[in-house]
């Protein structure tokens, strides 16, 4: 069973801790993303799991056995893992088929068995026709598929992916997200996926662990992370967010300015129901109207009402992006509105949001 337990993992590079007391449990067959900005320690964590680095403290266990600790290190080649790299790392001196077959050399297999496995995997990643090509003759997406086939053919217990899509162009990246998810559903290999792209993490993962400065800030299913961020960092890193700071006045009321108090979604992780905090309000959860009576109707249904002026409008075709100036309050709101009803710059407007969309987050 490929249950991965990471406990108190710490790795320092010349004093600064790249990974700092990190804890994470990964279930068998689960797909977990490590999501965070560059320098947050996600790649270091992955290389620690792979065994390319040895931790300074803490340990990594697979199926109950310790594979990494400050005093013990199972070398990468004996971890029964596979890894996919940012640079693809397709060996340029071997053909596609040779690349894929390489890892099987170290298993006790006959030539026929190797050929059969390679042929099968090349079929899975749609590369059968290109098996005798060299990497210089392949596109980025094709190289990525070679890397996938090479990693999967050895039937690893655990699959590690280090920003595998970041070198692909936008369209291909979208396609490969689905491809990676499809392959995961087909092979059900425990997977740790490192990325700084939240959409990628959302599309592929069972759970996402958001990392900041070497620590995990929040772990959860993609919807949990997006809808109920626990900290301001998670709210801002995952998706667009309006962050309004204020003082909690009980668990579900917050005062964000003079004569502006709104109903909010409580955050059970916060220690206190009073004091400084912030809310995260997603731009697409805000309703716009220019009609006062409509706004009053919604207000009676407990909507929070902000009144302001359209400061800027950007039309995207499938949506329209507004900045609403809430003067005299010192805030602006970003709103994603429907393209079917457009408001003009300078127009007076009401922005309304349900309390459950005003999610309380810790203010850091």
């Amino acid at each position: 069973m490929a249950i991965v337990s990471i406990r108190g993992l710490t790795k320092k590079f010349t004093d600064a801790a790249a990974v700092d007391d990190l804890h994470l449990e990964i279930a068998d067959g689960e797909f977990v993303s490590l999501l965070g900005p560059s320098g947050c320690g996600k790649t270091t964590t992955l290389r620690l799991i792979a065994g390319f680095l040895q931790p300074d403290a803490g340990e990594i266990c697979v199926g109950g056995g310790v594979i990494s600790s400050p005093s013990h290190l199972v070398p990468p080649e004996r971890r029964n893992m596979s890894m996919i790299f940012q640079s693809y790392a397709v060996w340029p001196h071997m053909t596609v088929a040779q690349n894929v077959a390489y890892g099987l050399k170290f298993k006790k297999l006959t030539k026929q068995q190797i050929d059969a496995k390679v042929t099968k995997l090349l079929g899975v990643v749609h590369l059968s026709e290109l098996k005798d090509r060299y990497s210089s003759e392949l596109s980025g997406g094709q190289q990525q598929r070679v890397a996938l086939a090479r990693a999967l053919v050895v039937e690893p217990q655990i699959l590690l992916m280090d920003e595998p899509l970041s070198n692909l162009d936008a369209n291909l990246r979208e396609e490969m997200r689905f491809e990676i998810r499809r392959l995961h559903e087909e092979f059900a290999i425990t997977t740790v996926y490192v990325t700084h792209d939240q959409a990628e993490a959302m599309a592929t993962s069972d759970r996402i662990a958001v990392l900041d400065r070497g620590q995990i800030v929040q772990v959860g299913r993609p919807a949990e992370i997006f809808d109920h961020p626990k900290t301001r960092f998670v709210a801002e890193f995952v998706g667009k967010a309006n962050i309004l700071c204020g003082r909690l006045d009980g668990a579900s009321r917050m005062r964000i300015a003079e004569r502006l108090e709104i109903g909010v979604m409580p955050n059970p992780d916060l220690a206190s129901t009073t004091g400084e905090a912030a809310i995260c309000l997603r731009p697409h959860n805000i309703v716009l109207t220019a009609v006062q009576s409509e706004a009053e109707t919604l207000a009676r249904q407990d909507y929070n009402v902000f009144s302001g002026v359209v400061q800027r409008r950007i039309y995207f075709g499938e949506s329209a992006d507004y900045t609403i100036d809430l003067a005299p309050h010192p805030f602006t709101l970003r709103v994603v509105g429907s393209p079917s009803k457009l408001y003009d710059k300078g127009q007076r407007i009401f922005a309304l949001a349900r309390p459950e969309h005003c999610v309380v987050v810790s203010n850091h």
Partner: protein, 575 residues
């Protein structure tokens, strides 16, 4: 696992790449290579300092005192300074001009010009110096005879056995260093910068003077230092051209101290200032070239357009070919003539033509067969062992295999600051006494060449590994290959062409080496360069010419083979 071993593992784990372990079968290989390198570098240098400072009665500075008060030594130092500074300045002027013409203007025949500069580069300076004694010797020199024939005068117009003659010849074989350095920089200066100046109203000559030149200035200073150092360490050319005129330089002076009765301690004391001067200059050069703020020079290069020479194309081309004829055409022609004629000074007519020099050189003359055998044996062994060692060291430093690994590059590059003759002094002192008595065998030459060629092999190997992404190796390890298997299956094949280039650089360097060999050879371990030097005394012009042409042919053959194999410009990659 025992506790002490755990501690060591913990520290090794800090280094950032895969933690090295004692159970890793390759570990002794890395440590062994590192120790061998450090030993190779420190042993001879230690010997020099020891011999110069340690007398019968203990620590003494008397040799240094003697060196710096002895009039002969002071003259040699003074001569060396004048010569090296002049060569440095002239080499920068010629090298930079040619580099600029080849990279930034529409001069025709650029490929051929580059190839000819490379030919000057490959020509051993002692061979060039020898050829110039035939061309511009005061009595029989071909150019002087031509002058007499044309003017009817009895006088000689050229005398190569003078300080200006020596400076002239050394410049011819130093400017290619500056050329390759400046050519690299010129190729990186974006035309946008020059366009900006032209839009502001500067004409193209003014732009070259006010924009291009200042941008290239660090490289120019660096080139000067390189040419200066090169001429500082040369032995063959000053010995061939200077000694007949009683003109001593530091290197020839050191050589004299080795003649009977040998004064090793004095030679050692005389070597130390040369060593220190070289070190200071190398550090200065790194500082100047490494300075930031010239980011445009290091960038992508941007677009480059060529400056039109207009009506000046033909005269400029003739000027360039004129310079190259001094370093390549004329010397090669006179060598070829000397090799194929009965009397080299007479015109090469059918009556004067002979193949006797060839058969005499290869089959009759006493020393040559053994010397040729020794030279190529040393070339092959040194190149192979040197490439292997340089590869291991470069791999250690590049992949940072253990803590402090990067300091190894300092040792690998250290011979850059050791002139060949100084190295030879150190090796002579170090390996003529137990525990390691190598003197009298070719192995002391092997050690000398291995040490001397380490920087070129190392930098070549280093840049090769830099171009191989570490993830290519990680990808192999994570799916089941251990470090050794990865090295064999992945790294070695990818590094192949780069390492072949390293091998050839070392090989060419070895077969043309004179300044270290001249102090270390014994009757049974003569090499071609030493034989050429000796034959000079005997006046065996034909044999020298044949041997010289042999060296050149082999060098060119190796370079052409490498360029075919590696598909790259050897001049551009050689530092």
């Amino acid at each position: 696992m025992p506790v002490s071993q755990t501690d060591t593992l913990g520290r090794l784990g800090q280094t950032g790449w895969a933690a090295l372990r004692f159970k890793d079968p390759t570990f002794p290989v890395w440590i062994g290579a590192a120790l061998l390198l450090v030993f190779l570098m420190l042993f001879p240098l230690g010997a020099i300092f020891r011999a110069s400072l340690w007398g019968d009665t203990g620590l003494t500075f008397s040799r240094y005192l003697e060196v710096f008060t002895n009039e002969q030594s002071l003259t040699a130092i003074w001569n060396t300074l004048i010569i090296s500074i002049s060569v440095g300045v002239l080499a920068v002027i010629i090298g930079a001009l040619l580099a600029w013409l080849v990279t930034r203007t529409d001069l025709p025949w650029k490929k051929s010009i580059r190839a000819l500069v490379m030919a000057s580069f490959v020509t051993p300076p002692f061979l060039g110096a020898f050829a110039w004694t035939l061309l511009a010797g005061p009595n029989a020199g071909a150019l002087n005879k031509l002058y007499r024939a044309v003017t009817g005068s009895e006088e000689a117009i050229f005398n190569i056995f003078t300080m200006p003659g020596l400076i002239f010849v050394m410049t011819l074989y130093s400017f290619p260093f500056v050329f390759s350095m400046i050519a690299n920089v010129c190729e990186l200066i974006s035309s946008d910068l020059e366009d900006a100046a032209e839009i502001l109203g500067a004409n193209k000559w003014r732009t070259a003077w006010t924009v291009t030149l200042p941008l290239a200035l660090p490289a120019l200073i660096g080139g000067f230092i390189l040419a200066f150092l090169h001429s500082l360490s040369l032995f063959g050319a000053p010995a061939i051209l200077g000694l007949p005129a009683g003109l001593h330089t530091i290197t020839t002076q050191i050589w004299t101290l080795f003649q009977y009765p040998p004064r090793l301690d004095m030679a050692a004391a005389f070597s130390v200032p040369l060593l220190l001067a070289t070190m200071v200059l190398i550090v200065a050069q790194k500082k100047i070239l490494g300075r930031k703020g010239y980011s445009t020079v290091g960038g992508k290069g941007g677009q480059k357009r060529l400056i039109r020479l207009g009506w000046g194309r033909v005269p400029v081309l003739l000027f360039v070919l004129g310079i190259l004829s001094l370093s390549v055409f004329l010397p090669y022609w006179i060598l070829l003539k000397a090799a194929l004629s009965k009397a080299w000074a007479l015109p090469l007519t059918w009556d004067n033509f002979t193949l006797h020099n060839l058969s005499f050189t290869f089959f009759e003359y006493g020393d040559t067969q053994l010397a040729i055998y020794n030279t190529f044996k040393l070339g092959l062994i040194t190149a192979t062992v040197g490439t292997l060692l340089a590869t291991l060291i470069a791999y250690i430093t590049n992949r940072n295999l253990f803590r402090g690994a990067r300091y190894l590059s300092f040792f690998a590059l250290a011979p850059l600051v050791i002139p060949g003759i100084v190295l030879a002094v150190g090796l002579f002192i170090a390996y003529t006494r137990p525990p390691l008595v190598l003197y009298g065998t070719i192995w002391i030459l092997f050690v000398a060449f291995l040490t001397k060629e380490m920087p070129i092999g190392f930098s070549q190997a280093e840049s090769t590994f830099k171009s191989i992404h570490p993830e290519l190796e990680d990808a192999s390890r994570i799916i089941g290959a251990n470090r050794l298997t990865t090295l064999k299956d992945i790294t070695a094949p990818l590094a192949r062409s780069g390492l072949i280039a390293a091998w050839s650089f070392i090989f060419i360097g070895v077969i043309r080496e004179l300044s270290a060999a001249i102090l270390l050879f014994a009757p049974q371990s003569k090499v071609v360069s030493v034989v050429i030097f000796d034959l000079k005394e005997e006046g065996q012009i034909g044999v020298i010419a044949v041997l010289g042409i042999l060296l050149l042919l082999v060098s060119f053959a190796v370079i052409i083979t490498v360029q075919r194999l590696a598909g790259r410009d050897v001049v551009a990659t050689r530092e």
